[in-house]
C-alpha cells in the first residue's frame, strides 16, 4: 500500500502572458463600420450556423507571400491542420497558376530571404519548391559609402555559415507556398475577391443574465466576425488575419491606428545582366539613398535604388544605355572615390577591440561587376514607414506589411512578415492545444508580445541608418566611416550584426548604429 505520489513539474508551454496595458483596456473590442450596419438579426445568424459553408476558423485577408506563408504553416502544424481556412484575395495568381518559365529573365520584384526564413520554409515544406526555380544564395556582402572613408565586407564563414541569405523572386516565393499548400489535405477555400467591410460585434456589452433572444444573437455575433466581399459574398470567421499589405483594409476596418511617415524617396527596381555571374550582395550609400545590387542567379542581378522622386522619374524615362551607364557610375566612382583597401590603418585602430579575426577582415574592397544590359522594365515605388500601434483586437490580427511597412534598405521587410506568420501559427497551435477560442484577445496578445518589440527594434535600426545617410556633413561622414571600419574589423560586433540580419538573434549588441 505504499503509494508514491509523483509530482511532475512538466511545465508551461501553454501559458499566456498578461499584458498589463490590457487589464483595464476596454477599447479592444469595437464595432467597426459595416456597410450593412449592425442590424444583426438572429435569422441571418442561425442560417449561418446551419450553412456551415461560409463559416471558418480563420479568414486570411490577403494572399500575398506573408498570408500564404501563414496558411502553409497552419497546414503543416499537427495542431492546426484541421482548421477551416478561407483565403481572400483578388490576385488571379491564386487561382490561375502562372507557369514560371526558367528561361525568362527574372522578375524585378525580388526578396532577400534570411537564413531564419529559409529554415521556416524548410519546416513548412515549402523550400523544396523554391529549389525547383531560380534562386541565388549569397555568402558575401559588401557595404560602403560614397565618401570613400570606409567599407565593410561580411562573409558567411565569419559565423560558420554557408550563406548570408538567398535572393528569390516574389512570384517564386508565392507559387512555392501555393504548391506547398496544394499538396496537403488542408481545408482551404479561396475567395477571388476583395474585402469591403467587416463587422465585429462585442460580446462584452453589459447585459442582464436573463436577457432575451437578441442577446443570444449578440453573443453569436460576438463569437464570429462577419466579412463582406466585393462580389457580394459574405463569410464568418473566428479569426480574421489582416495580411493585406501596406494599405491594409483590415487594419482600417478594425480601427487600428498607425504611426508613420512617407520618406520623400522612391525606389527604382529592375533586373540587369552582367557578363558573368554575381555571387555577392552589394550596397552602396549615395547622398540620396542606397543602391543595392543583389545576385538573382545566372548572369542576372536585381537593382533596388533609393533616390529622390524627381530623379526617379528621370531614371525611369531615360534610355536603356544611359540608365546602364548611370547604374555603373553609381556603383563605382560616382559621387566619390573608392575606400582605401590597404586596411592596415583601420586594423590597427581597432586591434585592441578585436577578438579573433574574422575571415572577411582581410578581404579587400572590391568593385561590383559591371552591368551590361537592362533585363526588365524599371518600376518605381514610393517609400514609406508605417507601423500599426496595435496588432490584435478581438477576432482580428495583423501580420506582414499590414502591421509594419519598412524601408527596403536592408531587405528585411518580407522577413519580418514571415516571422509574424511563424509566430502567429505557433500561438494558434498553442491555443488549440488548450481548447481556447482562437479569436480570443488574450491568446492573440501572446503573438503581439512576441512580434511587436522585434519589429520595432528592426524598424528603429533601419530608421537610424536611413537618417544617418540622409545628411552629408563632414563629421558625421567620418563617424559613419568609423562605424563601417568598426563593423569591418571588430569581429564580435561583426558576428552579432550578421546573426541579427540573418534573423537569428534578437538584438545586435552593441546597439544598432553600425550595420
Amino acid at each position: 500500500m505504499n503509494r508514491i505520489v509523483t509530482k511532475r513539474f512538466s511545465v508551461n508551454v501553454y501559458e499566456l502572458s498578461i499584458t498589463r496595458k490590457n487589464f483595464c483596456s476596454n477599447a479592444a473590442s469595437r464595432v467597426s463600420s459595416s456597410s450593412s450596419g449592425q442590424s444583426s438579426n438572429e435569422h441571418e445568424v442561425k442560417q449561418n450556423f446551419t450553412d456551415d459553408g461560409h463559416q471558418y476558423d480563420v479568414a486570411i485577408v490577403g494572399g500575398g507571400v506573408v498570408g500564404m506563408a501563414l496558411a502553409c504553416s497552419l497546414a503543416h502544424l499537427p495542431l492546426t491542420k484541421h482548421l477551416k481556412v478561407a483565403i481572400i484575395d483578388s490576385n488571379p495568381a491564386l487561382v490561375k497558376r502562372n507557369c514560371i518559365n526558367k528561361e525568362d529573365p527574372p522578375d524585378p520584384r525580388v526578396s532577400t530571404v534570411t537564413p531564419a526564413t529559409i529554415s521556416f520554409f524548410k519546416d513548412i515544406g515549402a523550400w523544396q519548391y523554391i529549389q525547383q526555380h531560380r534562386h541565388a544564395y549569397f555568402g558575401k556582402m559588401q557595404v560602403w559609402d560614397y565618401t570613400g572613408l570606409g567599407y565593410t565586407r561580411y562573409n558567411a564563414r565569419d559565423v560558420n555559415k554557408e550563406v548570408l541569405g538567398c535572393v528569390v523572386e516574389n512570384k517564386v516565393l508565392h507559387s512555392s507556398l501555393l504548391s506547398c499548400i496544394e499538396n496537403t489535405d488542408f481545408r482551404k477555400t479561396i475567395y477571388p475577391s476583395k474585402l469591403t467591410s467587416m463587422a465585429l460585434l462585442p460580446s462584452s456589452s453589459s447585459m442582464g443574465v436573463d436577457s432575451t433572444l437578441s442577446t443570444t444573437a449578440l453573443f453569436t455575433k460576438g463569437r464570429l466576425a462577419k466579412l463582406e466581399l466585393s462580389d457580394g459574398k459574405s463569410l464568418y470567421a473566428k479569426l480574421v488575419v489582416g495580411a493585406d499589405g501596406g494599405k491594409s483594409r483590415v487594419r482600417e476596418l478594425a480601427g487600428f491606428k498607425t504611426t508613420g511617415w512617407n520618406y520623400s524617396q522612391n525606389a527604382v527596381i529592375c533586373t540587369v545582366e552582367h557578363t558573368e555571374e554575381n555571387r555577392c550582395a552589394w550596397q552602396r550609400f549615395l547622398p540620396a539613398g542606397p543602391i543595392a545590387l543583389l545576385p538573382i542567379g545566372d548572369r542576372f542581378s536585381n537593382i533596388v535604388w533609393t533616390m529622390n522622386p524627381n530623379v526617379s522619374s528621370d531614371c525611369k524615362t531615360m534610355n536603356e544605355e544611359e540608365f546602364v551607364k548611370t547604374v555603373n557610375h553609381a556603383l563605382d566612382y560616382g559621387y566619390g572615390s573608392h575606400p582605401k583597401s590597404s586596411s592596415s590603418g583601420g586594423r590597427d585602430m581597432f586591434s585592441w577591440l578585436r577578438g579573433d579575426v574574422t575571415i572577411s577582415a582581410d578581404e579587400c574592397f572590391e568593385v561590383p561587376p559591371k552591368v551590361i544590359k537592362l533585363a526588365s522594365d524599371r518600376m518605381v515605388f514610393p517609400l514609406s514607414l508605417k507601423h500599426a500601434n496595435d496588432y490584435v483586437s478581438k477576432h482580428v490580427v495583423l501580420i506582414g506589411d499590414a502591421a509594419h511597412t519598412v524601408h527596403p534598405l536592408a531587405g528585411q521587410g518580407v522577413n519580418l512578415g514571415f516571422e509574424d506568420s511563424h509566430a502567429l501559427s505557433r500561438v494558434i497551435a498553442e491555443g488549440v492545444a488548450v481548447g481556447s477560442d482562437i479569436g480570443e484577445v488574450s491568446l492573440l496578445r501572446k503573438y503581439e508580445a512576441e512580434r511587436k518589440p522585434a519589429n520595432i527594434a528592426m524598424m528603429a535600426l533601419l530608421e537610424v541608418f536611413q537618417r544617418a545617410y540622409s545628411v552629408d556633413f563632414g563629421p558625421l561622414n567620418i563617424l559613419r566611416a568609423a562605424a563601417f571600419n568598426g563593423a569591418h574589423y571588430i569581429s564580435p560586433l561583426k558576428k552579432s550584426i550578421i546573426s541579427y540580419a540573418s534573423g537569428e538573434q534578437k538584438m545586435p549588441l552593441p546597439l544598432p548604429f553600425f550595420s
Partner: protein, 341 residues
C-alpha cells in the same frame, strides 16, 4: 489510518504540522463536518438542502448553502463566480503592488456581466490555459491519447462539477470531449448555456443545474471527473470526493484543484484581501475550510482515488505568465485515477 499516514509522509509536507494536521479541518467547530475517523455520513447532520428537495438525504451532503448563496447573490457579476480565482491571482500577485491595484480596479468594474477574455476576468482566462495544459497532459497520458492531435479528448465523457459559467467546460469541448457541466447555482448554468450556445463547437455541452450527488443517484458515469476550485466551497469534502469517485468509471480519471491551507495562502488571500485591503467582505473565505495537499490526497485515497500527479500554480510578475511548478504552497491541482477495487 496507519496506511494513510505512511502515504502522507511521502508527500512534501508543506505546512509541517505533523500529528495535528487533521484537526483544523476534520475536527473543526463546523457543525456540518464529521470526524475523519468515522468517515460515515449521518444525513441528519447536514444543515443544507438542494434546490429542489426531493432527495433530502443523500443528495445534499456536499452543498453548503451559505457558500452557494454567495455565488448566487453575485452571479450577476461573473466576477464572483470566479472570485476564487481572483483570490489565487491576488495571492500570487502579492509581490507586486502594481498588479494589486489592477486587480482591485477589476473588482470595481466587475458589475458588468462579461464572459470575455478581455473583460475583468482576464486574469482568470489567462490562468485557464495553464490548468488546461495540466489536464491535457495528464489525461492524454492516462487515456493513451495523442497529444499532438487537435482534439485528443474525442471519445471521452467528462463531467465538470461546479462548472460556473463554463470557463473550463468550453475548452474541454473544443478539445473533443463530450462534456457535461453541472453547477448548483441556476444562474451560472444559464450564463454557461447562453455563452456555449453561441459557438457550434461548444453548443454540444450538456449543462445541468444539479449536484454531484444527484448525478450519482442518476447512476451517471464518466471517464473523467473534474472539479476545479469547488471543493473548498462544499460542506463535506470527504463526502464530495466520494461522489466524485462514484461518478468515475473504473480506471477513470479525476482532476481537482483548490487552494492550500498554508500560512502563505492565509496571509495573502485572507488577511491581506479581506482585512487589510478590504477587497472582499470579511469571512468570504473560511481558512479552516481549505485543504492541504496531504489532506486532499488522503480523502481521495479513502474514496479509492489514487493521486498520481500534483502541481502548483505560480504567477511570475516579471514575465506576466502563470506556470505549473512544484510549489504547491498556494494553489494546486491534483490528478488521480480511480483504482479498480
Amino acid at each position: 489510518m496507519k496506511l494513510g499516514w505512511r502515504m502522507v509522509r511521502k508527500l512534501r509536507i508543506v505546512n509541517a504540522r505533523n500529528g495535528t494536521f487533521f484537526n483544523a479541518r476534520f475536527f473543526s467547530d463546523s457543525t456540518t463536518q464529521l470526524p475523519l475517523a468515522s468517515m460515515t455520513v449521518d444525513p441528519s447532520s447536514n444543515t443544507t438542502k438542494t434546490n429542489n428537495n426531493n432527495n433530502k438525504n443523500s443528495t445534499s451532503s456536499s452543498l453548503k448553502h451559505l457558500e452557494l448563496a454567495k455565488f448566487a447573490a453575485i452571479a450577476d457579476s461573473w466576477f464572483v463566480i470566479h472570485f476564487y480565482y481572483l483570490f489565487s491571482v491576488i495571492s500570487n500577485f502579492s509581490s507586486s503592488s502594481f498588479q494589486l491595484r489592477h486587480v482591485w480596479s477589476l473588482c470595481i468594474s466587475s458589475c458588468m456581466v462579461r464572459w470575455d477574455s478581455e473583460g475583468p476576468f482576464k486574469p482568470l482566462h489567462v490562468m485557464n490555459p495553464t490548468r488546461l495544459a495540466f489536464i491535457r497532459s495528464t489525461l492524454c497520458r492516462h487515456f493513451g491519447k495523442d497529444p499532438n492531435c487537435a482534439k485528443p479528448f474525442e471519445g471521452l465523457n467528462i463531467v465538470d462539477v461546479g462548472c460556473g459559467g463554463g470557463i473550463l467546460s468550453e475548452p474541454l469541448a473544443r478539445m473533443g470531449a463530450t462534456v457535461t457541466g453541472v453547477d448548483a447555482v441556476d444562474k451560472n448554468i444559464k450564463i454557461a448555456c447562453l455563452h456555449a450556445g453561441s459557438d457550434p463547437e461548444t453548443s454540444t455541452i450538456e449543462y445541468c443545474c444539479t449536484t454531484a450527488e444527484k448525478l450519482v443517484e442518476e447512476q451517471r458515469r464518466f471517464d473523467a471527473v473534474i472539479a476545479l476550485e469547488v471543493i473548498e466551497h462544499v460542506a463535506d469534502p470527504a463526502e464530495f470526493c466520494k461522489s466524485l469517485a462514484a461518478l468515475t468509471v473504473e480506471g477513470g480519471a479525476n482532476v481537482i484543484s483548490t487552494i492550500n491551507r498554508s500560512m502563505r495562502a492565509y496571509a495573502t488571500a485572507i488577511v491581506a484581501a479581506e482585512y487589510i485591503l478590504r477587497w472582499l467582505p470579511k469571512g468570504t473565505h473560511e481558512w479552516s475550510s481549505f485543504l492541504t495537499p496531504e489532506e486532499l490526497v488522503l480523502i481521495l485515497q479513502r474514496s479509492s482515488i489514487d493521486v498520481k500527479e500534483m502541481a502548483g500554480f505560480v504567477y511570475n510578475p516579471l514575465t506576466g505568465r502563470w506556470s505549473l511548478s512544484d510549489d504547491i504552497g498556494v494553489n494546486f491541482i491534483a490528478f488521480g485515477t480511480k483504482n479498480t477495487h
